[in-house]
């Protein structure tokens, strides 16, 4: 890749160098012929040594002059080319800088500078149309997700309350009770998906912006007890190894959700009797649990990529993890090592 301005300049220079290099023998031959003619006309006879000396002198002078003019020409070209092109392409560079800084999430339209050049004006206009359209679509999508989730909460609450009332009926058979319970179970899954969708859109909509300094080992110590009952119920051993105290900057609620989701996944996808290992190193949080085969890495962090009938999650847990990592520039990685699923969360910002 080379810059636009350098590209035209290079061609110019090569062409000029070729012409000038070609001109040296032409000059030489022309001057030689003239000189011979003058010698004949004025009947000057030179000794072979003097003739050779003259030829050398001519060659020297011609080369020197050519190189001198070439240098002059070259500098002129470079300077002129740079000035003209810069002025000519300025609107283009302006627009380029603006697009580079554009991010859809910031929801800010771009104001392009006015330009007198028709092509650039057209370019800016088309870009403007494209970007405005994108922003509108993005906003609409966000609003839709948020509104839809909100609107669903109330009917969900009504259905749940009605089912729980039905449960209070005096003459229920066990079969009827089980039907109600199954319905409630499915309903609670819908509520969960809805809650997580709402959370995702809220993170995308730049909510949860307050930041705190969080001591990860303290947060972990607070979170772990809630998992212990569930882990114990599944006969899963939770091991926590804190190798270093880690202090990070972020929103407390979001970081809690992030860790909760990772821990929940590890416990949920572990067989009875297996162990879930949580490690905290100076720069990372690592959680691993035994598994049979590697998960599909490229699908893992996408929405609804993992939910199957056998594993009734919401399919949003890891998408939320990813989204939170993105906000703070943290990196989440998955690997399958020695029969274990390993999720590593690097708290260090890696600059690109």
């Amino acid at each position: 890749m080379s810059k636009l301005l350098n590209r035209s300049l290079k061609t110019f220079i090569i062409y000029a160098a070729l012409v000038l290099a070609g001109s040296i023998p032409v000059y030489y031959v022309a001057i030689n012929i003239l000189w011979k003619y003058e010698q004949l006309e004025h009947q000057i006879i030179l000794t072979p040594e003097a003739g050779r000396e003259d030829r050398l002198l001519i060659v020297g002078a011609v080369t020197l002059l050519t190189v001198l003019f070439f240098a002059l020409l070259l500098t002129g070209f470079i300077l002129l080319n740079r000035r003209i092109s810069q002025r000519l392409w300025q609107p283009f560079y302006n627009s380029l800088a603006k697009i580079k800084n554009f991010s859809l999430e910031q929801n800010k339209a771009i104001q392009f500078d006015k330009t007198e050049i028709d092509e650039f004006a057209q370019l800016n206009q088309s870009l403007d149309k494209l970007i405005t359209g994108n922003i509108a679509a993005y906003t609409q999508q966000k609003e839709f997700a948020e509104n839809a989730s909100h609107e669903l909460q109330t009917p969900l609450a009504i259905v749940q309350s009605k089912l729980e009332l039905l449960m209070q009926s005096q003459q229920l058979t066990t079969a009827q009770y089980n039907i109600i319970e199954d319905a409630l179970k499915a309903l609670s899954r819908v509520s969960r998906v809805n809650k997580n969708l709402l959370l995702l859109t809220k993170i995308e909509n730049s909510q949860y912006m307050e930041k705190d300094t969080i001591e990860v080992q303290e947060l972990l110590a607070n979170l772990i007890p809630q998992f212990e009952t569930i882990a114990a119920g599944k006969q899963i051993i939770l091991t926590i190894q804190v190798q270093a105290a880690v202090s990070i900057n972020g929103n407390r609620a979001l970081v809690e959700i992030l860790l909760n989701n990772l821990i929940t996944n590890a416990i949920r996808h572990s067989e009875a009797g297996s162990n879930v290992l949580i490690e905290l190193t100076p720069n990372s949080f690592i959680i691993s649990n035994p598994g049979e085969r590697s998960l599909q890495t490229e699908q893992l962090f996408k929405r609804f990529a993992s939910a199957t009938i056998q594993q009734p999650g919401t399919g949003l847990g890891l998408a939320i993890v990813k989204q939170i990592c993105n906000r703070y520039g943290w990196i989440i990685q998955y690997a399958f090592n020695n029969g274990r699923h390993v999720f590593t969360l690097h708290f260090v910002q890696i600059s690109f």
């Binding site: 309350s161 009332l165 319970e181 569930i230 599944k234």
Partner: protein, 224 residues
């Protein structure tokens, strides 16, 4: 005890009312901001359930009014928004609790019970149910004046049952109650069994009657 349900979704309000009415509560309803204000200025309630999104005014504003009127009742916000800011703001203005829709009716009953007790029985907060006595402040349980040592979760479950007496409670609702937000990420609620089994055993050993019944295989009821 009187409860005012301020909720514009009639169906939800009537479910809540139907669940609470009977044992010890009397429910009244308000559907709008104005309606609620009128009722509050005339009657005295023990607890107010407040939906934040009401026609004719923001629920938080109504909460400010309630506090301004120096209404004694405990206030529980029920909201479809589940926004952190709303929760913080509501609690700051003076709400006693916050619940996000959808919720379990049994959870709501437990919260109402707790709010009402806190408001009304400040210093000597004792629940007596036949031979069982619960000291809410000391978090102690006695059967026939003999102390029963319960774990935190068993104690929570006991209170949950007492505040939902004679109601059928699903395992699901119990799991969410004792494990908070984490429980609803799991589909296996077997861990609830162990706690209930232990609670039952400890109460029985101390000489309490068998109030905690298992129904239909996986439901529970505090039968009294």
């Amino acid at each position: 005890m009187k409860i005012l349900i301020i909720e514009d979704e009639k169906e939800l309000a009537s479910s809540i009312g139907a669940y609470l009415t009977g044992e010890q509560y009397l429910c009244e309803y308000a559907e709008t901001f104005k309606d609620a204000l009128e009722k509050l200025s005339v009657y005295v309630y023990d607890c107010i359930l407040l939906d934040l999104m009401l026609p004719g005014g923001d629920g938080l504003r109504l909460l400010e009014e309630i506090k301004y009127m120096k209404v004694e009742a405990g206030v529980i916000i029920i909201s479809a928004k589940n926004a952190v800011e709303d929760k913080i703001k509501g609690l700051q203005i003076g709400a006693d609790d916050y619940m996000a829709k959808p919720f379990h009716l049994s959870e709501l009953a437990a919260r109402i019970y707790s709010v009402v007790r806190r408001k009304q029985f400040g210093n000597s907060n004792i629940i007596q149910q036949n031979e069982i006595r619960v000291d809410l402040l000391a978090k102690m349980v006695y059967v026939n004046e003999k102390e029963v040592t319960l774990t935190r979760k068993e104690y929570d479950l006991l209170l949950y049952f007492i505040s939902n007496k004679n109601k059928v409670i699903s395992k699901n609702a119990l799991a969410e109650h004792i494990s908070g937000d984490v429980a609803d990420m799991f589909d296996n609620y077997d861990f609830v069994y162990a706690h209930i089994k232990n609670l039952k055993k400890k109460l029985a050993e101390a000489g309490s009657g068998n109030y905690l019944k298992t129904l239909y295989g996986s439901g529970y009821k505090w039968d009294i």
